[in-house]
Symmetry: C2
Subunit: 370 residues, 2 copies
C-alpha cells in the first residue's frame, strides 16, 4: 500500500494535534468516577446566560437552514458594542479559527512565526501545519519578554502572537508595554493580540493593574489583529464562536479563507443573546475574581507557589513532577490541566470554578499531595 504519510505535505508529516482537556464523560467512562468536576479548559462554571440558553433552545427547530454566512445580526451587535464597523469583524468557529485564518493568509513554508515560551499550544501547532518555522524567545518570570520578541524579528517574520493575558501562565502585559512594543514592530509584520480572557483581565477586581483594551491601537496599527471569544466568560465553548477585529483590508483577506458557514446558526443566536445579558457577564467576572482569591488563599495555606493570574485560571507549582498529581486528582473526580508540554512540568493549570468546586480541588490537592 502507498505510504500516505510520505505523500503528505512536510508540515503535516510532523504534526501532532492539540491535546484537549479530558472531557467529563471520558473520565467517567474510563475511571468509573461520578459527578466529576472539570477545571481543565477554562470554561465558565456559571454556564451561559440564561437568555442565551433560551434563545439557542428555541432556535434548534430552525437549523434545517444554512447559517447566515455573513453573521449579519451578530456583527451588527458586536459593531455597536465595540464601536468598530462590521467590515472590521471576522467571525470564527471559536477564536482559534481566527488564528488559523491569519496564518492561511500570510504564512508559507518560508515564513517565521514568533510567540513566547509558555504560550498557547495552538500557535506552534498552526505554525507546524503551515510548514513554517516557530521562533520562540524565552519567557521572563513566566511572562513575555517583549524585548526578546522584538529582537527575534527577521525579514521572514510574518506573524507575532501575543496572548494577553497569556494562557497557561495567566500573566499579562500592561498598556505601556504593548504601546511601546507595537510602535517598534515593522508595519508589514502582523501582530495578533489574543484577548481570549479579556473580560476577566479588564475587571478592576483582578490584580491585573494596567491591563489594556487592545481596541485602542486598531486605528494606528493596520497590522494589528485582535481576537476574542465567546468560549470563556460568555460560557459558549460548546457552540464555537469567536471573532477577530482588524483593519478592513486585513478583515477582507481573512474572510477570503473563512469557510462560508464556519459559525453555526445556534452559535450566532447564542452569542447575540449573550451580549444583551450584562448582568450575567458581571456575575461571571465577580465569581471569578472571588474564586481566584479563594484558590490563592488555599495555595498559600498549603505553601504552594503559583503564578499571579489575570484570567479565569491559575497555574500552581506542586513542587514536584505534576503528572502523577494530575493522575491522582482524576481518581478524585477532578480534571485539571497538566502543562508539561508548556515546559512547566511542576505546574498544574487550574480553572477557577464555583466556590464549591474551588474547595473541592483544594481539598483533593491537599489529600493527593499528603
Amino acid at each position: 500500500m502507498t505510504d500516505f504519510l510520505k505523500l503528505a505535505v512536510p508540515g503535516v508529516q510532523k504534526l501532532a494535534p492539540y491535546q484537549p482537556g479530558k472531557p467529563i464523560e471520558e473520565l467517567e467512562r474510563e475511571y468509573g468516577v461520578h459527578n466529576a468536576a472539570k477545571l481543565a479548559s477554562n470554561e465558565n462554571p456559571l454556564g451561559p446566560s440564561p437568555q442565551a440558553i433560551s434563545a439557542m433552545a428555541s432556535s434548534a427547530k430552525d437549523v434545517w437552514l444554512y447559517p447566515d454566512g455573513n453573521g449579519f445580526e451578530l456583527k451588527q451587535k458586536l459593531s455597536s458594542k465595540l464601536g468598530v464597523s462590521p467590515d472590521m469583524i471576522t467571525l470564527g468557529n471559536g477564536s482559534s479559527d481566527i488564528l488559523q485564518f491569519i496564518m492561511q493568509v500570510f504564512v508559507t513554508s518560508d515564513s517565521e512565526v514568533i510567540f513566547s515560551q509558555h504560550s498557547f499550544a495552538i500557535y506552534p501547532i498552526l505554525t507546524q501545519m503551515m510548514g513554517a518555522t516557530s521562533v520562540v524567545p524565552a519567557a521572563k518570570e513566566w511572562g513575555y519578554d517583549l524585548e526578546a520578541i522584538l529582537a527575534a524579528i527577521t525579514d521572514k517574520t510574518r506573524i507575532i502572537f501575543i496572548a494577553n493575558p497569556n494562557n497557561p501562565t495567566g500573566t499579562w502585559l500592561t498598556e505601556a508595554e504593548i504601546a511601546s512594543f507595537l510602535a517598534r514592530v515593522p508595519e508589514q509584520v502582523i501582530v495578533v493580540l489574543d484577548e481570549a480572557y479579556f473580560e476577566y483581565a479588564i475587571d478592576p477586581a483582578t490584580e491585573a493593574s494596567g491591563y489594556p483594551d487592545g481596541l485602542q491601537w486598531l486605528e494606528k496599527y493596520p497590522n494589528l489583529l485582535i481576537s476574542r471569544t465567546f468560549s470563556k466568560v460568555y460560557g459558549l465553548a460548546g457552540v464555537r464562536v469567536g471573532y477577530g477585529i482588524s483593519h478592513p483590508q486585513l478583515t477582507n483577506l481573512m474572510n477570503r479563507v473563512r469557510p462560508p458557514f464556519n459559525v453555526n446558526s445556534i452559535a450566532l443566536v447564542g452569542a447575540a443573546a449573550s451580549l444583551d445579558d450584562e448582568e450575567h457577564l458581571a456575575r461571571s467576572v465577580a465569581t471569578n475574581a472571588a474564586g481566584l482569591k479563594q484558590l490563592m488563599r488555599g495555595f498559600d495555606e498549603m505553601g504552594l507557589g503559583y503564578i499571579p493570574s489575570a484570567a479565569n485560571f491559575i497555574s500552581v507549582d506542586v513542587g514536584r513532577e505534576a503528572a502523577p498529581i494530575y493522575d491522582a486528582l482524576l481518581y478524585e473526580g477532578i480534571i485539571v490541566r497538566p502543562v508539561a508540554n508548556y515546559q512547566m512540568p511542576n505546574h498544574l493549570r487550574v480553572t477557577v470554578g464555583t466556590e464549591i468546586q474551588n474547595s473541592a480541588i483544594l481539598t483533593a490537592l491537599k489529600k493527593v499531595l499528603a
Copy 2:
C-alpha cells in the same frame, strides 16, 4: 499603509469566496417581501428529526463545556450504522471541512487538483486557496466524463473530486462506471467521492438507476475518501456536521489538521439523535421523490428542459439568460440558485420543497416567464 494584499500568499491574492444562497432574512430585509421561500441551498424542507430538535434544545444548557473533540458518541453510532471502525471516521464542521482537510494534507502550490466542469464550487475555491492548479475536464451531457478525467491525471495530480450525485447538475455515476474508474486511478492519487446527496440518490424511488454506495470500495482502495453530511436529508445544515470515511492512515492524517473542536456540542447531539430516527429519514426521502416528480411534471407542462436529477434539487433550463428570472423570482418571495458561475447561464437550480413550495415556484416561474 502597507498593502497587505501584496503580502498575502499567492493563492489568497486571487481568491474570491464562495457565494452562498441568499438567506431568507436578507431577502426580506432588502426586498421587503414576507413569508419568503428559500429553495436555494438544498435544505430539507421537513426540517430535522423532531427527536434531534428536542435533543439539541435540551443540550443548549450544556454548551459552557467544550465539545468532545473526539466525537466519541457520534463516531460510535456512525461506526455501527456504516460498518466501519471509528478510526476510519473524520468529523467535519460540515462536509466542506472534510474537503478542506484532505487538501491541507496533500496539496501544495505545485499540485494539480482535478474536478469536472459544472461541479461543486468549493472544489476550485479550495484549490485556489492552496495556490494549486485546477484541472477541469469538460463535462459530457452535464455529467462527468470519467475518461477525460483519467486522461488529465499527471505526476502532479494529488486529488480528484467526484461528486455523486453532482451538484448543481444532479447527474450521477453508476456502480460500474465508478468501479472501472477507481481501478484505473494511480494509487497515490486521492479520490474524494463526495456523497453529500447519497441518501436521496440511493432511494429506489428516484430514477438514479445503478447508483452505488461508495463504502463498498473502501477496503480495496486506500486512496478513497468518502464524504457525507448531515446538512441535506438530515436537515441539520445550520449546526454544521459532516464526516469523512477513509482508510485509517488517511483518517489519521486528516485528524492532524482538523481543529480540535471543529464540531460543536449541539451538532454532535443532533446528528447522533438523527441517526436514530429512520422514520423521519424515510419520510424526507419520499417527500423528495414525490417533489422531484411534481417539479418535472410542471417543467414539462411549461415546455422547459431540465437535467434529470438523483438529488433533492433540479436544474431547469429557462431558455434564456437566467439572471433576470432569478431576480424576478426574488420579488415573488422565492429564492432559487443562479448557476451562471457553473457555466450554466440559462439554468436555475431549484431545491425540491414541500408540495406547496413546489407549486409556488412553478406558479411564480410561469408568471415571471410570461
